[in-house]
Amino acid sequence: MPLLEVKDLHVCVEDREILHGLSLNVNEGEVHAIMGPNGSGKSTLSHVIAGKPGYEVTEGEILFNGENLLEMDPEERAAKGVFLAFQYPVEIPGVATMTFLRTALNAQRKARGEAEYSTPDFLKKVREVAKSLNIPQDMLKRGVNVGFSGGEKKRNEVLQMALFEPSLCILDEMDSGLDIDALRIAADGVNALRSPKRAMVVITHYQRLLNYIVPDVVHVMSRGRVVKTGGKELALELEAQGYAQFENAA
């Protein structure tokens, strides 16, 4: 059984259909890249998987470990192991990053019927991960993402990914707004989390990110559907030839 099964997914936003029958299977341990031009529906797919309000699924289903994901609240999906790294992580003034991390982690553990982390264990874990991602301690005391640079915000997403240990990570345009050094740090963080028990879906417009996070499978999206699936060489082909051929195919 695949970890994630998206079957014939149709999604509308304000009565306009964005996804027109998208299907996708992702197995444990695999890294999939979803590439496509702007407006092809990549981010819509990531939002629907995470449960963002405002999207109407008119047809099709999404199964996660065989369970119907679409019936779950966003927080249930998170507790089951779905993690969306946001393209634009929001700033939350007045909520200290450390408080946020602990509240979220313990909420997930509580939902799974697991014991809450003790404070020393939690602190130890956060400090270890933060260090590996080059996140200074004082950043953790500040409001969530408040005053963070683009690179710091993305590193904060990777920090959460490492803490929450999800089984499915969806990275929505992780490279947007990052310079090459920031991209490398974030990608190293992601690569460290690759595991036979964890799948990743890397959504990106450019091939560049895939030099750092090398995928097993590449899907090309156009106009709300997957129009081609192949190996990592497909990304290079796209880089050379552009999306135009698929735009016409779709």
Partner: protein, 437 residues
């Protein structure tokens, strides 16, 4: 015509209530005459209504309709209930001064232990013995302040000596134990030059109290170079009315850190009149309203810069659920002589339901030309994108909302200078949020 409209729906009139209260008021002829005059002023104005600009959003004729008869002086059973209610709101190390149903209660108070350099007396005693008519007079023409002067049965007259440094906060607690009755209190606080004082005021209901009315006035004088922290918690019964007036006169080079939180009461209004009468003073005036059901909470502030070189900062946050209504009125006046005034005010309201209502009315009246003044006001719902981010990280919706609301009110609560009191207020806000879940 106003007099006629002030008559109440149940047939008893304010004048009947005043007449019935005479036996509870001072017997001193001079004082009795001042009370009568104050009542005449009130009768001429009547209960404030929406056509009085200052009361536009808090129409007492519609919301309250009548002045209830005075609550009887508390008996032993009432004092026992009051004592139990106080325990739940005690502040560690604070020296308590307790008023129950408008009467000062020495046996529930720490009169002897308030601190060196502090004199505490009961208003009723000071009026009777010393005929201190000045304690009933202010420059205000507000109807509710006049009614307070006419009807106040008791209060605290507190004098803090120059240079006194009080280690323990003074905690003035108003407890209501009666039902369908009113309590009028008036306190006069004089803080000497260079004194350091922490003052807390709490309004609570004992078991069995309900549908009561509170009308309190605090006349506060702050001497030069004093450092004052003042925190108020209005946590009345859900069907109570509380109209409180604070008339504050601030000397030179004073630091005043003021905070009010309203989290209860069917109708609450704190009207604070701050006059900056000495140069170089710094005012930090902050507040939070936490309102639910059909509660109506009003914070009205007038900061009057009459002299040069003072700073005032106002931060207000309202969280409004269900069909509740929050009002913020903030007026900053800068008189012609008050050059180099720096006055800023920011008010934000968070609406948790479609039927919640917020009115924000900032006003600047500037008559000097070399000043820095500004204000801002926003009203909105919880930011859905923040809520989704937290839920996508595993926080249940209510918990995510609570975290965002806490952060929102935190911007005002963090202005409280006293660490222990800030924690007390944070805990109270936290309890309100938990009760919502």
């Amino acid at each position: 015509m106003n007099v006629a409209l002030a008559k109440t729906g149940t047939g008893s009139t304010a004048s009947a209530v005043f007449a019935a209260a005479r036996s509870r008021l001072s017997g001193n002829a001079e004082i009795a005459e001042l009370c009568r005059q104050a009542f005449e002023t009130y009768e001429r104005l009547g209960l404030p209504h929406r056509r009085i600009e200052e009361w536009k959003y808090t129409d007492l004729r519609a919301l309250v309709r009548e002045v209830l008869p005075l609550a009887p002086a508390p008996d032993a059973a009432a004092l026992a209930r009051a004592g139990a209610a106080i325990k739940a709101h005690a502040i560690d190390g604070a020296r308590r001064l307790v008023l129950v149903d408008g009467v000062f209660v020495p046996e529930l108070s720490d009169v002897a232990a308030v601190g060196a350099g502090v004199s505490v007396r009961e208003l009723s005693d000071v009026l009777e013995t010393d005929a201190r008519g000045d304690l009933l007079q202010t420059a205000s023409t507000d109807a509710m302040i006049s009614l307070n002067a006419a009807m106040a049965t008791d209060g605290v007259v507190l004098t803090i000596a120059d240079g006194a440094e009080l280690a323990a906060p003074i905690h003035l607690i108003h407890v209501a134990t009666a039902a369908s009755a009113s309590a009028f209190t008036r306190s006069h606080l004089s803080i000497g030059n260079g004194a350091r004082v922490t003052l807390v005021e709490t309004f609570i209901a004992a078991e069995g109290a309900g549908a009561y009315q509170v009308n309190d006035a605090v006349i506060l004088w702050i001497g030069d170079e004093a450092d004052v922290s003042h925190v108020r918690l209005m946590a009345d019964a859900s069907d109570a009315v509380n109209i409180t007036s604070q008339v504050v006169t601030v000397g030179a080079r004073v630091k005043l850190n003021f905070f009010n939180m309203t989290s209860g009461g069917a109708v609450s209004r704190l009207q604070g009149f701050f006059t900056l009468a000495g140069e170089g003073s710094e005012l930090s005036i902050n507040g939070v309203n936490l309102l639910k059901d059909k509660e109506h909470g009003d914070l009205t502030l007038v900061v009057d810069h009459t002299v040069p070189g003072c700073t005032s900062r106002e931060t207000f946050r309202a969280v409004i659920d269900d069909r509740a209504h929050s009002v913020f009125q903030g007026r900053i006046i800068v008189r012609p002589d008050a050059q180099k005034t720096d006055g800023k005010m920011m008010t934000r309201a968070l609406l948790l339901s479609d039927e919640a209502e917020a009115d924000n009315k900032p006003e600047l009246e500037i008559f000097a030309d070399d000043v820095a003044c500004g204000h801002g006001a926003t009203t909105g719902a919880i930011d859905e994108s923040l809520l989704f981010y937290l839920r996508a990280r595993g926080l249940p919706e209510k918990e995510a909302q609570a975290l965002l609301i806490q952060a929102f009110v935190g911007e005002a609560i963090e202005q409280i200078a006293n660490d222990a009191l800030r924690e007390t207020v944070e805990d109270a806000a936290q309890r309100w949020l938990e009760a919502r879940r």
